[in-house]
Amino acid sequence: MSRFGKHQLHELYYYLKLTRSLEEELARLFRAGKLSGALPISTGQEALSLGATYPLRAQDVLASAVPCNTALLARGVTPFEILTHFMARRGSPSGGRDGSIQFCDLKRGLVAPTEHPAAHVAVMAGVAFAAKVQRKDWVALALVDERALATGDFHEGLNFASVHQLPLVVVIEKKPLDPAAAAYVAPAGQNHYERLKAYGLPTVMVDGNDVLQVLQVVEAALERARIGKGPSVIEARTAGRTRFSMREDILAVWPASAQRFPEAGADEPGEGQRKLAFEDRELNDPVDQFEAFLIEHAQMRPAEQKEILARVTKLIAEDVRRAEEEPPPASESPTTGVYDRGSNVPVRLAE
């Protein structure tokens, strides 16, 4: 811990709290029917997402299939952008066209996955390849969920990166036990970082709930990649919830979603009593954990904490207000933007 200055520790705390506060607002907006689709919260995954992103330099590139609001914030994305994105408002970065968990903005080093578990691993190998052949020093960082390891995409991407010794770091999130886990990747029970040694690259496991541990391990992997030593893989155990338990939670806390999206199938919309992950005190919450750590080690005085939380509250309040004022996208020309200069986009109706 000695290697982290107080400023850094406070910044990390700021991002964790900013995320939590933002996601509480997202949950509120979702309950009020103001999000366009699903509820994108990352409870239990914040330490991983922040620890992996924080050591990135400006020129580095991130693609995450793991919920990553924390990572986006740490990359300089504003709460306003994230809010309008999930509310699908006009001023959002995609203009309401996309609803993924990540943005694509190359100037900020962000590549958006396609909502396939590992297609972005190959794409990020390409990002890393471009650094190698152009003698640039960016590193590509790809975050995946563990079930991605069963996909051919994952292997094709990692194999290419390994063949060419590319500056790619892959972080695999592993969540607490999934009752169907034995069906996913063989042999069951083996750690992923162990099985991926077959690719002849360094692999390691970290506690994904501990932001400082993640940060240090990812930083070392990035450095290694940057100086030409090739790709590596990190497995991180988090307290995150699987998408399925998330979905159950959401349907449970917000019966209205069953009316709005009946296709999602809430058979017992009346349950209504369950809590969202971050409302659940059972959770081994990485945000609380880091807060306790800072206080215990006398790295954050009450006044400092108060100041940080005040900044969080102010920014979120301001951005929520602005986001709620943002109009929906204009639907005049649904077909522009498919090709460069909008070439050859046929109209919808026969004239």
Partner: protein, 324 residues
């Protein structure tokens, strides 16, 4: 008898076929322990056990291959794509292995590929697609698109009993939005039979899937202004029921084709060409296509509503064609 939903009809069809025929089994992501992302298969694991309800790894190409191998060896697998969009990941296996097997070697692949299609539920570019044309254009696959609760059940049973690979496209928007009371006895809706859902004398509107409801609503509205639509629900895209289409065209003489899928290279083009070839003399006006534009499916409600053909779009087109 109680009314059941479209989703329940799919589930009942699979359930009854699994009871009837021990060779039928299910493969897909999260279909067992979790009962499926849309809960279509809830309770199946408990009833039929782990060897007939298989939670697969995320590997669409791989488990589709597994299903082909199992079909070769006497089983009749039903493969679920959690969202039909992910059929893109099994494209090679379906179009090259499954589709060409009978032609190459006379060895059929009795296999059902199913999953939720289409938009309207604000699910964005990767969970809202309509992939039918990739398979309509692949000789060796059959493609069905039930629009009603009755057809959802009857086409699923026909698909399971068929000796060829059948792509069964269920529209997620319909899952819990439509209900119907079904016959108690076993029935199938044979593949390759379209149905006239509404007879009319001014314009034939040919459609399929969830667009049927847009078509019928437009037809009711147009009736009030004296434009009388005949509405055909194709139900099967392959085999295509040319007879039903051509019979209506020959009687009614004006045609519109409506689908949720994008325009260029869509089914409407194929049907338009067919009608032009086979019934050119019978046409009293151009064949109009009403489709989504050539873009990915947008996420926001406003953009998606502008993307998916609406009742007003059908009404506009019908007025133009009626005046022709």
């Amino acid at each position: 008898m109680a009314e059941i939903t479209y989703l329940e009809a799919i589930r009942e069809a699979m359930w009854e076929e699994m009871e009837r025929d021990p060779r039928v089994l299910l493969l897909g992501e999260d279909i067992g322990v979790y009962g499926g992302a849309f809960k279509v298969t809830q309770g199946f694991l408990e009833r039929f056990g782990r060897e007939r309800v298989i939670d697969t790894p995320i590997s669409e190409e791989g488990f589709t291959g597994v299903a082909i191998g199992a079909a070769y060896m006497g089983l009749r697998p039903i493969v679920e794509f959690q969202f039909i969009d992910f059929i893109a990941n099994a494209f090679n296996m379906i179009t090259n292995f499954a589709a060409k097997s009978r032609y190459r070697w006379g060895v059929g692949v009795p296999l059902v590929l199913r999953g939720p299609t289409g938009g309207g539920v604000r699910a964005g570019p990767f969970h809202s697609q309509n992939p039918e044309m990739h398979f309509v254009h692949t000789p060796g696959i059959k493609v069905v698109v039930p629009a009603t609760v009755h057809d959802a059940k009857g086409l699923m049973k026909a698909a399971i009993r068929d000796e060829d690979p059948v792509l069964y496209l269920e529209h997620k928007y319909l899952y819990r939005r439509i209900k119907e009371e079904l016959p108690r006895e076993d029935f199938v809706v044979p593949l390759g039979q379209a149905i006239v859902r509404r007879t009319g004398s001014d314009i034939v509107l040919i459609t399929y899937g969830a667009m049927l409801y847009v078509a019928l609503e437009a037809a009711s509205s147009l009736e009030r202004e004296g434009i009388d639509l005949e509405v055909i629900d194709l139900r099967s895209l392959v085999p295509l029921d040319r007879e039903t289409i051509l019979a209506s065209v020959r009687r009614v003489n004006k045609v519109m084709i409506l689908h949720e899928d994008t325009r260029t290279g869509g089914m409407a083009g194929e049907i338009s060409a067919l009608i032009n070839e086979e019934a050119f003399e019978d046409l009293d006006g151009p064949i109009l296509r009403i489709t989504a534009p050539d873009t990915p499916v947008p996420y926001s409600a406003e953009l998606e509503d502008a993307f998916i053909p609406q009742v007003a779009d059908v009404i506009d087109a019908a007025r133009r064609l009626a005046a022709y």
